[in-house]
Symmetry: D2
Subunit: 224 residues, 4 copies
């Protein structure tokens, strides 16, 4: 099965990121697919992912603040809303069903792999501009989309998780973000953006964020 | 009629801001009340206010990015959503009815008074933290609420504008933002926040933003 | 006399900024040249300029924080040092000689034109990247260089001020900043940076900052 | 031997940071003291530390940009100057003597532990204010001071490194930064700053940065 097409910039960045396969086909992902990931590891991951989402929402809010056009602002703002009013409450609910109440969830100590990834993204956004933020956010958004598309229908104990990212709504989000990025590049750098040093520099941000995604799965797998 | 009570911090800041009356009872406001503000001045103001709202939405997005708690993030994020998906389209619509199409609106050159105010707020937010941003945003949010409450029922050609800010929905927003600020102060500075130098420094931000609001009305009145 | 050549990007931006002549040949500047600027206006300007320099130094510090290369960081950092350890103490000294002590200088209330300009520059830097900051800083750095070069030898009561900016040291700084900008553009956008939308967007930042420089002189002239 | 006294805030933060001893008495430090740290590990550490210093200098530049007073700005700016014109060239020189040329040094891939720490500090500074930045920077500045003071005179192959941090110049820097922090707290929070929630929140920043310092030594020890 070929990977979904989330846009031109994403495809170029992905193909140039040395660890893209190490990320999207990480042993943690394979264990989700096979259904033999120990529950404790999944819960550890979920708790860290909740903290991650907090910072992820902050990063999308920063993208709204750094938007150049109303369309960019609306797209970024809608993502923040979806995260804080939908995605994060969903996490709270899943964890509650597993016996981790909201208070315990909020009290989660961030793992170093989590700190590394989230602060890398936010700092890229603060120090750079809208494009830097998009390049740092893309591996998470689209990587999960690609994983969801590949694992779709795998069934097993983690099928809820899989189908969330395999589903039409999440896949549409990946396409939207891909278009947002391609449009933002053209708006600032013109039609030949792929040939500019800036695009290569953004690709390095993407590659570093991808490397930190590998670390995040590894943290989930090792349970620390 | 006494001014509405939007919370403890707001009341203290307002009472200490030398130009609060010069802002909320500015000749531009009085002309809106009496209904004799020339239409050209109102439209000039509306166009500048549209540009203002763009940066105002960016500032609230930055507040979401700088939130400490999920509640702060949800409040800030909901305000951004309201601004970009509701308030700004409304402006587009009002201007369209007056013969200013969306393209002309987007092409508005920012007046210096507009640049001064919006960049002051955003820079306060970037250089400082969530509290600095709140102190710089409060004069706009609550000042319009206070003006709306005072002008309520004045009728005349600007009654739509007046009733928007006099209305229950906008008044509730002012109370919510007031609570958000009081809560954010207590969360960071403890119950005696009003006695700390930090609170006085925030009050100076509030006073400077109030001064820049006076300049904004003046720009509307002078039509430049 | 032709204007000095401070580099390719600066020349293109200057030629495209509608108010460049209104800024560099402003009546305040002409009054400095002729020597008939009232002393009170000059002192009002000096006091505001001191506050301006504080934020200008902060903006160069932000440029150091947003540097991509060690060379960029060293250039920006050296400028901050020069400003806070040399230029600002010099201002303190000149004002002291005029009977304005350090305390009075620190207590200066920022004029709206000052707030508009400094916060525009800082916000451009925070919201954008190193290039946005350079485009917003360039009109001040190079405009003063161009004015100094043109007024050189004019003599009169303001000859000290004039010769500071006409002098070899300041002119070298303008050339250095020009090279820094051309190099930063090439590093990020490749050799054809002048043809990209990004360059036009940076030119708009330059033009807006130039417009705010006009407002700054006007504030000096009007003494408010 | 008792630890040096670098000020009130530092002492309180250090005493409340669970991993302070794990950081300042880490096996990497002990191996430096005994002199049996493998050279390869030391060089790996040095290369990562060079990249670290780049971001550390950026963080101090950001502190200059976020200063409230001229004294804060001068202190932060002087530190940047020292780092980019003295400390970093020194690293280049030491590495060159070991056969790692400047190009190789610049090409160092940041280890995840390095990314985690540096981006945590910078993001704390961007999202928060001057105090947040100080709390995140303090463990590095003062931790090295404390280690230097304890290892002073240990001799062995790493005595140059040890004496740099044990030396009067570096110890004076630690005292200066300690005073800067105590002064900045009093300036913003009044004399009872130690009792405020804000101080506890800053202490958590300090504790997290300390935890990431442990990770940095561990990275040095494991050579990855």
């Amino acid at each position: 099965m070929s990977a979904p097409d989330y846009g031109r910039a994403f495809t170029l960045w992905r193909d140039a990121a040395p660890l893209w396969q190490a990320y999207t086909r990480h042993e943690f992902v394979e264990a989700l697919r096979r259904g033999d990931l120990p529950r404790a590891n999944f819960l550890h991951y979920l708790r860290q992912d909740y903290v991650f989402l907090t910072h992820f929402a902050r990063a999308w809010a920063l993208a709204a603040a750094k938007s150049d056009t109303l369309a960019e602002m609306q797209a970024a703002s809608a993502t923040v809303q979806a995260l804080v009013h939908h995605e994060m409450p969903l996490h709270v609910q899943i964890c509650a069903a597993e016996g981790i109440d909201a208070q315990a969830l909020e009290a989660t100590t961030e793992a170093p792999a989590n700190l590394a990834y989230t602060r890398y993204v936010l700092e890229a956004g603060y120090s750079g501009d809208f494009l830097d933020l998009m390049a740092a956010l893309a591996p998470c958004v689209m990587g999960y989309g690609e994983i969801g598309a590949r694992l779709k229908g795998a069934g097993g104990p983690y099928s809820d998780w899989i189908e969330t990212y395999a589903g039409a709504e999440y896949q549409a989000l990946c396409h939207d973000v891909g278009s947002l990025i391609d449009g933002a590049l053209a708006h600032r750098l013109g039609p030949d953006w792929a040939s500019l040093p800036r695009f290569g520099q953004l690709g390095q941000r993407f590659a570093t964020a991808t490397r930190l995604e590998v670390g995040f799965w590894q943290m989930g797998l090792e349970g620390v």
